[in-house]
Structure formats: C-alpha cells, structure tokens
C-alpha cells in the first residue's frame, strides 16, 4: 500500500495544526474509572494557562463535575498521566511550558473514587 506522494504547500493537508485554532490549543482530558463521561473531553485552552488554572477554573465547568465523585476529589491525591505516562504537573507552570502542547492527552485517576457504586461508571 505504498503510495507515491508529492509534498507541496497544499498536500498533505493537515487540518488541525495549532495555527488553525486562533491562538488557543486543544487539550484532551480523561478521568479513569468514570465512564459516565463516555469519552475524554476535548478542551480549547490558552497555551499559557497554568495547570492549576485548568484544575480550578476549567474542570469545574466540564461534564466531569456532574459526576457524583467529583465533589469528593482530593486534588492533592490525584494521579496524572500525560500520553499514558505518569506525570507530575506543576500547578503554577503554563501548560506548554511543562510539555502539554497542542493536542496533548491527560488522564486523571482519583484513588478510592471508582465511579458509581465503585463500578467504574
């Protein structure tokens, strides 16, 4: 299935380059064991937003906050992964500066909180 392609200004057409998002970037967030929120969410955020601002200002307005476990989260104990590797976020540092660039994928795990009736939903 090898295809011969001529690269040019118009090909390949990369539709989701950062510059197409008008100064913002895409960030995906998933919450393990909480599949009530059926898929990771896609957020449009400022690249210089800090991780702390993400947690304190953005997440409370998302679908995650509608989950019964959300209000019980102990944020100090949350485990984070970036691109499925363990990651320790720096709350006062901008997303981009700590490697969470455009279209990064972050997972959070909340030990002890495992969904509706502990079923992972």
């Amino acid at each position: 299935m090898e295809t011969i392609t001529k690269k040019s200004e118009h090909f390949p057409l990369v539709r989701d380059r950062l510059k197409n998002f008008h100064g913002k970037q895409v960030l995906y967030v998933s919450w393990d064991h909480h599949t009530m929120i059926c898929a990771p969410i896609a957020l449009l955020v400022e690249p210089d937003m800090t991780f702390g601002e993400l947690v304190q200002q953005i997440l409370p307005g998302t679908a995650f906050a509608k989950h019964p476990d959300y209000s019980r989260i102990d944020w100090a104990k949350v485990e984070w992964l970036s691109s499925d590797h363990p990651f320790i976020p720096r709350p006062s540092t901008a997303l981009l500066a700590q490697g969470l660039g455009h279209k990064s994928f972050v997972r959070m795990r909340t030990p002890g909180l495992n969904g509706i009736a502990g079923t992972g939903c």
């Binding site: 995906y28 998933s30 009530m36 059926c38 509608k66 279209k103």
Partner: protein, 525 residues
C-alpha cells in the same frame, strides 16, 4: 423464455453462457487510438498485478436486458407495497414511535453511504479493462442509486409524521456521529481501484453486509414497519449479486499473482477494521433502540461474522489469506460495544438529530440475559443512576466536545481489553503533530498512510476552529451563542429533533394519534 410456437423450425437457443459472452465480453475491445495502459491509467498505482482479465468469472451472467427486466419487476412490486403503505397510513402500525429513531439513523447514516457507493462503482467500472468486472460494477452503480431512491421514498412517509428525517443530506455532511460512515466512504472512494474493490465489494458487501441489513430489516419486521421490510428485501436481492462480485474479485486478484496477497491482506485488515467501527451504530440500534428486539449484537456478530466469516476464510485460506487482524478483539468487545455507543448518544443527545431513552425494566432483563458477564456489572448501575437523575429533573447531559479517533472518527468510548472502566487510547507523533486513536487497528491504518488521515475533517476540531457556522454568522457579535449556531449548522432543530424521546413532539403526537392517554401509555421508562 421458452418458445411455445410449434410451427417454426427449431432455432438454436443460446444458453446462458453463450448469450452472456456475446452480449458482454465479446463487445469489449483493445484500444488502438490510445494505449490500453493510458486508457486504464489507475491500474498500476497499487502494485497489483493482473495478467489475464479473461480469467474473471461471472457467476450471475446477467445481460443488460435481463438486468433491467428483473430490476423493473422488483420496482413494480416495491412501489405497489409503498403505495399501499402510504394509502393505509402504515406508519401507524409500528410497535412504538421510538422505533422511528432507527430510521433516522438509517436515513442520515446509511442512505448517503449508498449514494457514495453508487459514485464509487460508477468510477470503478471505468477503471477495469476486463468486461466482466466492468459490467458488474456498472450494474452495482445502478443498484446503489436505486437503493438511495427506494430508501428515501420508503422513509418519506415517516418524514411526514416524525422529526429528524427532513434533511439527511446536510446532516450526513455535518453531524458529529455521521462523520463515521461519511469518512468511511470517502476513504474508500479516494483509494485506488483494487483497494475500492476490497473495501466495498469484499469487506463491506460480503463480509460485513449481513450485519447492516439483517439487523435493520429484521428490526423493521419485528416492529411493524412494512415499508422498510419491503425496501430492505427488495435491495437485498441486489446484494446477492454484490456479494458474489466481492468474492469473485478477491479470488481473481489472488489467483492472478502471488505478489498480490500481501497487498490484499493489508486492504482486508484495514477495511475490516474500518467497517467494524461503523457497525457500532448498528450494535446500539439492535440492543437499545428496537422496542421489540430481534437479537443482541453479540449474537449477530457470532452468527454473521464468526460463523459465516469462519466458513469464508476456511475457503480463502488456500490462497494464503488469513482472518483480518484484531478479529479476536471484535469478539471480546461484543460484550461492551452497544452499551458504550448508546452511552455516547445518551451523553450527547442535545446535539443529535434523534431521540434516546432509558431502557425499561423489561429491556434491562433482556440485556442482562444477553450479556450475563457484563451488563449487570458494568452498565446497569449507570442506567439506574441516570434514572435517579431523570426522576430528580437533573437529566445528565455532556456539554463538552468529545475526543475523537483520527481514523474512524468515533469518540474514544472504547475501553481497554483488560479493563472496561478505562478508555483505550493510542498516540503517535507525526510530522510535529500529535495524533490519537481508539485502538491498534485505527493506529495501524494511520501509520500505513499518514498523509491521508492528517486531513481528516474531525467534527469536534472543526467546531473549535469556528468552521461549523452557517455563512454570515459573526462570532464577535453580542449575544453570540456558539452551541446554538452549531445546531443551526447541523440543521438540527432544538427541542424538536434532539433530546429525549420522553417529552418530545414525536411522543406527544404518537400518543395523540394512537389515542393513548397519560394513564394508558403502553411503554414508559
């Protein structure tokens, strides 16, 4: 065709093979004004080697006159039934108005795919120098257009009475969940001729076709939808020809040159996986949307893929062809697929052009029985939670945009094989960008042809880029409501086409037409 006249001398009547030969293959020719490889210039693109097009076998041997005769007969029979259906208000005989939502899914998701198939086969027929193959493609192009027309015509009666059916063409182009079938066909139609054959004629029309048509048509039969049953069976008679085209093409290509095997296997792996991902919608339809159930997705996959596919691949193994990559995963996932797709629609009902509803106690008993290992453990608790929220007037809606797979464009709702409470995710860096996938299958497809998939029109990203508004909309204007504008772009009328079945215009109308009062309503969740 028997000649009953006895006064004329006996005439040599051509048999099927002779007639077919004279009226099809013998009408073909080698071009002389231009060289053959310039006239048929796509054949060399994929590395497939064909040494002798005459080796193509035509199982059905339909000449054009026979084709039109039988197709006309089918049309006469079909439209007689559709006339009777309309004259007698057949739409009132369905089991329940919830059923119509399966038709909304069908008309917006599958009918446009039939139109793309029509275009694909019209173009494909032009690419083959073998007359047998070209004719089969021509007939299929005409068949697929007929399917578009008969589907629209059959469902048009429902469009007079139910919402969400009025704009299927635009919805298919723009709606988030419809980019899955749309991108499937656009991927096929932009591939080389042999890949198109494997993608559509073999993988879709042979291997997976029963998983589209049997569920919808049986669902229609069980739920009193005479129009859909009739058009379904009318088109299925064409499908038998399509299936044999698919099987013939794979055998022919594999027999022509041993070097073709690796390429064909690659195509099969890719298109089995892409087709499987589209079928998630059918799984949800079977398990959650039919008021009267036919069979579970798990059962359907077992019968139509595992057993039927098993027989098929037993036969094809003599060429060295193996079952598609990751097929075992599809069997394991059958325990989860429908529940996860349905939850996807429950989350985003606000932005869909169809209604959803919670399963009743009876529905859940059925789901429990069909999925003894997974339903009560992983999915019933969530549904019960949703019921509680609905009872409190706090029905859960997901107002975010979901993360989508770069290839199949389905939201990342699939879970890990070893843990159905964690989302399955794969990631690649390519040319300075990150790309995300729901599975190894989709990631592999991207890796083989990244230049193609970086241009995917992913609805969630397009919305974020501000590309999903009607012309003339100004995001800077005061009072600008992004979500409302996106709904206008989708041609989804809020409060009418979307949201729950309970409380919908469809429900109100149905209860009124059927003379149900609030007390005697037959089905409530």
């Amino acid at each position: 065709m028997t000649n009953f006249a006895t006064s004329k001398p006996p005439v040599h009547k051509m048999n099927l093979k002779e007639k077919y030969g004279l009226m099809t293959r013998d009408l073909a020719w080698e071009t002389s004004y231009q060289p053959m490889d310039k006239v048929f210039d796509q054949l060399g693109l994929e590395g497939i080697k064909i040494h002798d097009w005459d080796k193509w076998e035509d199982p059905f041997r339909l000449t054009m006159d026979a084709y039109w005769k039988y197709q006309a007969e089918k049309e006469r029979k079909l439209y007689a039934v559709l006339d009777a259906f309309q004259q007698n208000n057949g739409q009132m005989n369905i089991s329940d108005a919830r059923y119509v939502n399966t038709l909304k899914l069908f008309l917006t998701g599958i009918t446009p795919a039939e139109y793309n198939a029509h275009r694909l086969f019209a173009m494909l027929g032009r690419q083959f120098p073998g007359a047998g193959a070209a004719i089969a493609c021509q007939m299929q192009a005409a068949d697929e257009l007929r399917h578009v027309q008969t589907q629209i015509h059959s469902i048009s009666q429902y469009n007079k009475y139910f919402n969400g059916l009025g704009d299927h063409r635009v919805m298919n182009d723009r709606l988030w969940y419809l980019s899955t079938p749309k991108s499937f066909f656009e991927d096929a139609i932009s591939s080389g001729p042999f890949e198109q054959m494997i993608a559509i004629s073999f993988a879709l029309e042979y291997l997976l076709t029963n998983l589209v048509f049997m569920p919808f048509m049986s669902g229609a039969a069980y739920n009193g939808d005479m129009a859909t049953v009739t058009f379904g069976f009318s088109s299925q008679s064409d499908e038998a020809r399509h299936m044999t085209l698919g099987l013939e093409c794979i055998k022919f290509v594999l027999e022509q040159d041993p070097g073709n095997l690796e390429i064909i296997q690659g195509y099969l792996d890719k298109w089995f996986w892409r087709g499987y991902k589209v079928l998630g919608l059918v799984a949800m339809m079977l398990d959650y949307m039919l008021p009267k159930k036919v069979m579970s997705w798990k059962e359907a996959w077992q019968i139509y893929f595992v057993q039927n596919g098993g027989s098929l691949f037993n036969d094809l193994s003599r060429y060295g062809l193996r079952l598609p990559k990751y097929w075992e995963q599809t069997v394991a996932e059958a325990e989860h697929l429908s529940h996860q797709v349905w939850n996807n629609f429950y989350n985003f009902t606000g932005a869909a052009a169809m209604h959803v509803w919670l399963p009743s106690d009876e529905d859940m008993e059925w789901l429990s029985a069909k999925y003894p290992d997974t339903f009560d453990k992983h999915y019933r608790p969530r549904i019960e939670h949703y019921r509680e929220l609905e009872a409190q007037g706090k029905r859960y809606y997901n107002d975010n945009l979901p993360m989508l797979c770069q290839v199949c464009q389905v939201a990342l709702i699939s879970t890990k094989m070893d843990d159905p409470t964690k989302i399955s995710h794969r990631e690649l860096d390519h040319d300075g960008e990150k790309y995300h996938f729901c599975s190894d299958g989709c990631r592999d497809i991207f890796q083989a042809q990244p230049d193609k998939y970086v241009s995917a029109w992913l609805p969630a990203h397009q919305i974020m880029q501000g590309n999903c508004f009607e012309p003339g909309v100004d995001p800077e204007a005061s009072g600008f409501d992004a979500m409302a504008e996106v709904m206008k772009y989708f041609h989804v009328t809020p409060g009418q086409d979307n949201m729950d079945y309970k409380g919908s215009v469809d429900e109100r109308n149905w209860n009124e037409w059927k003379g149900f009062t609030k007390d005697s309503e037959t089905k409530s969740s």
